[in-house]
């Protein structure tokens, strides 16, 4: 009998061991092991697992390997949910004190508000000076990716948020010139509406936030717009009220089924001739090409009215972890990410432009060439929807306020909710 008992006990122990080991992380991060004697390695974390992004990352890894033959590149990309899954995995690893050497994030407050506040990323000012990046990146960009004079990430690519896409055929048929001011735009949409044409194509809630940030910029201008995010422009002011009134007017020209359309659905309405205008970031251009549309024939582009000469940007960038297991290899990676060769490898494949202003234009298509031109001359401001100007908490409160406004249409309540959001999670007191 006692023998049987011992067997059972053994079985219990084994089951317990299995359960416990199942609770442990399935794979130990390579960071935990000693670097191999022959060479070093660098672990880079991202959510670039498909499409042009993954292909661009692969192209940049080739450049990295050529420059650093002794460093093994460990690509720790996590798929799913446009980065939501990856950010959750990253948060878990950071809370466990096992950071990857470097990770991807939207440049600006999305990174700074989350990871600088948590003391998890290193300032990179020395690297910027040593590599001479300050001379090749727009002057107005640097404050947007810095906090208290410290630069925290290396932008690899640049997308533009304030782009007005239009259907050239529809504008021509209705004798409308491409609008450059808010008033011209509203007048143009009124004409189109009277002619029985759908003036504006709009999609689900986040595309409405995208539209909001461009209308705020177009009405307030770059200085007051920047002031919204550092506390110097009052969210409760009359000028913000005027911008919100413009937003209400713009929304009144949108399609009624916006809540059921993705951004692709909405942008497609313009190139298919179902709507005249659409405001979307310049990744839409990659989508237009993908569905076989030609620039200046099926679609034209201009800055969102009121924001001519201003480049509202967003960017994917890489950081250096505090306590990175391989700090030197990580720095070598960041050098490639910020280099001309690295960015020229990544961006033509991804369909974005370089953060540097000295990339070879002949590598890029017609639209991107015009964006590169603007990037090197325009005033640079940051995007709200895509993480540059507001931290995650603030952005999510603005999103909630916007959702309530779309549901009930009460502008005054919207404005006071925006004031409250700035007080709760932004710089306003």
């Amino acid at each position: 009998m006692s023998k049987k008992l011992w067997y059972s006990l053994l079985a219990v122990l084994m089951i317990t061991a299995t359960v416990l080991s199942a609770c442990a992380p399935a794979t130990q991060p390579p960071a935990a092991t000693e670097p191999p004697a022959a060479g070093d390695q660098v672990e880079v974390f991202s959510w670039w697992t498909g499409g042009g992004e993954a292909a661009g990352l692969d192209a940049m890894i080739v450049v990295f390997n050529a420059a650093n033959p002794n460093i093994e590149f460990v690509n720790s990309a996590v798929a799913g949910g446009a980065g939501t899954n990856a950010r959750a995995v990253l948060a878990t690893r950071l809370q466990a004190g096992e950071p990857p050497d470097s990770w991807q994030g939207h440049a600006g407050q999305e990174l700074i508000g989350t990871y600088v506040a948590g003391g998890q990323i290193e300032p990179l000012n020395d690297l910027y000076e040593a590599e001479g990046w300050l001379a090749v990146m727009p002057e107005t960009l640097i404050p947007l990716i810095s906090q208290d004079g410290n630069i925290y990430s290396v932008p690899v690519n640049i997308h533009r948020a304030n782009v007005l896409w239009y259907n050239p055929g529809i504008l021509e048929a209705n004798n409308i010139a491409v609008p450059t001011t808010m008033d011209e735009w509203l007048a143009a949409m009124e004409t189109l509406k009277a002619a029985g044409v759908q003036p504006l194509a709009l999609g689900e809630q986040w595309t409405k936030m995208h539209l909001l940030e461009t209308v705020l910029l177009g009405t307030l201008g770059p200085d007051a717009y920047n002031g919204l995010w550092d506390g110097s422009t009052d969210w409760g002011s009359a000028e913000v009220k005027a911008a919100l009134d413009n937003y209400v007017k713009v929304l009144s020209y949108a399609n009624t089924d916006s809540a059921s359309l993705s951004w692709q659905d909405a942008s497609q309405l313009v190139v298919n001739g179902d709507a005249a205008f659409n405001v979307m970031g310049d990744w839409a251009e990659g989508y237009f090409r993908e569905i076989g549309k030609a620039p200046n024939v099926d679609y034209g582009w201009a800055p969102v009215p009121g924001s001519v000469g201003v480049f509202q940007f967003l960017s994917d960038s890489f950081v250096l972890a505090v306590g990175a297991p391989h700090p030197e290899a990580a720095t070598a990676w960041l050098k490639i990410a910020g280099s001309k060769a690295g960015q020229e490898a990544f961006n033509p494949v991804k369909g974005s432009i370089c953060a540097r202003t000295d990339c070879d234009k002949s590598l890029f298509g017609e639209y991107l060439q015009s964006a590169m031109e603007d990037w090197s001359t325009d005033i640079v401001v940051g995007s709200l929807t895509h993480g540059v100007v507001a931290n995650d908490s603030w952005k999510s409160e603005i999103d909630t306020a916007l959702g309530a406004f779309i549901a009930d249409g009460n502008v005054d309540a919207f404005q006071s909710a925006l004031v409250a959001a700035c007080q709760n999670s932004g710089p306003c007191e």
Partner: protein, 295 residues
């Protein structure tokens, strides 16, 4: 002696699963309760005591009011719809028609699909586009010259949630049909015959004999469907994404925690969800345990 050892052994053998349940269910529930009483906002844990403030804020939060309203609309349409449709299907199948097995499987099949798949299909069916872009059910209505039935479905202000519940009714009414069919089959034929001899018509038989005898089935269906509707998440995400007018507590919890880093508030929503589900489930479990013991 032998019995003692046996008992000792059985406790030992189930101890790993008890341990796992204690840690991974009750341990994390307690942890969530603690987080919901903290000021944690941002990536780094912050357990500063905040008493019930997260809960008080939620009760004042207009978004949470929308969540509660949407949950009530969804629950109402979904539970009533599934029970009524399921019951009618069961009654029809119970008439002893030909090919009953075929129809039974047909009505039960939607249950085999995940909510995500249902959502993707219904997203297309309930396309609210107008004019030349009309598609899905609205296009079908226009072919059938039933244009007055065309509507904005889930994008209807205020009542949009009812459209989402329609998709859920489609998915789950087969399941309630199966429950009711089993219930109907267990009612002895003598009872109906006795009622017929006493002069009752069909309607009176259902009203006074069948429905009362089926009340335990209705209770089970109510509980099962009710707790599903409190937790609904994936169906809404698949049909409408994250949009304020169709917000429910589970979506708010997810967004505020992982997009906005309001961990304290997210945990509070989670605990409120847990309590609301427990209010439904615990009396039911006690009731079934009691009846099982009696049997």
């Amino acid at each position: 002696m032998f019995r003692d050892k046996d008992r000792y052994l059985s406790v030992l053998l189930i101890s790993p699963s008890i341990l796992a349940v204690l840690i991974f269910i009750y341990g994390f529930i307690s942890w969530s309760v603690r987080v919901s009483l903290s000021k944690w906002k941002g990536l780094n844990p912050d357990y500063t005591w905040n008493a019930l403030n997260n809960y008080i804020e939620l009760f004042k939060d207009p978004r949470f009011h929308v969540d509660v309203r949407n949950t009530l609309i969804f629950t109402g349409v979904f539970v009533v719809g599934s029970i009524v449709v399921g019951f009618l299907l069961a009654v029809m199948l119970d008439q002893g028609l030909k090919g009953e097995g075929f129809f039974r499987s047909l009505f039960l099949f939607p249950m085999a699909i995940s909510y995500i798949v249902t959502g993707v299909v219904w997203r297309w069916l309930m396309n609210p586009a107008e004019g030349t872009r009309t598609s899905g059910l609205n296009l079908l209505f226009s072919y059938l010259h039933l244009d007055f039935l065309q509507n904005a479905w889930h994008t209807t202000p205020y009542w949009g949630m009812a459209a989402i519940a329609l998709a859920a009714v489609w998915q789950m009414s087969g399941y309630t049909m199966a429950l009711y069919l089993a219930g109907l089959r267990s009612i002895p034929a003598e009872l109906r015959e006795a009622a017929q001899i006493d002069g009752a018509n069909e309607l009176e038989i259902y009203r006074h004999i069948i429905l009362p005898l089926l009340s335990p089935v209705t209770l089970s269906a109510l509980i099962i469907l009710g707790h599903m509707s409190l937790k609904v998440f994936d169906l809404i995400i698949a049909i409408a994404g994250k949009q304020y007018p169709l917000d429910v507590p589970a979506i708010y919890m997810w967004q505020t925690t992982f997009d906005g880093h309001f961990y304290g508030r997210g945990a509070a929503i989670g605990i409120l969800l847990l309590i609301s589900v427990a209010l439904l489930i615990i009396p039911y479990i006690r009731y079934t345990l009691k009846t099982e013991v009696q049997q």
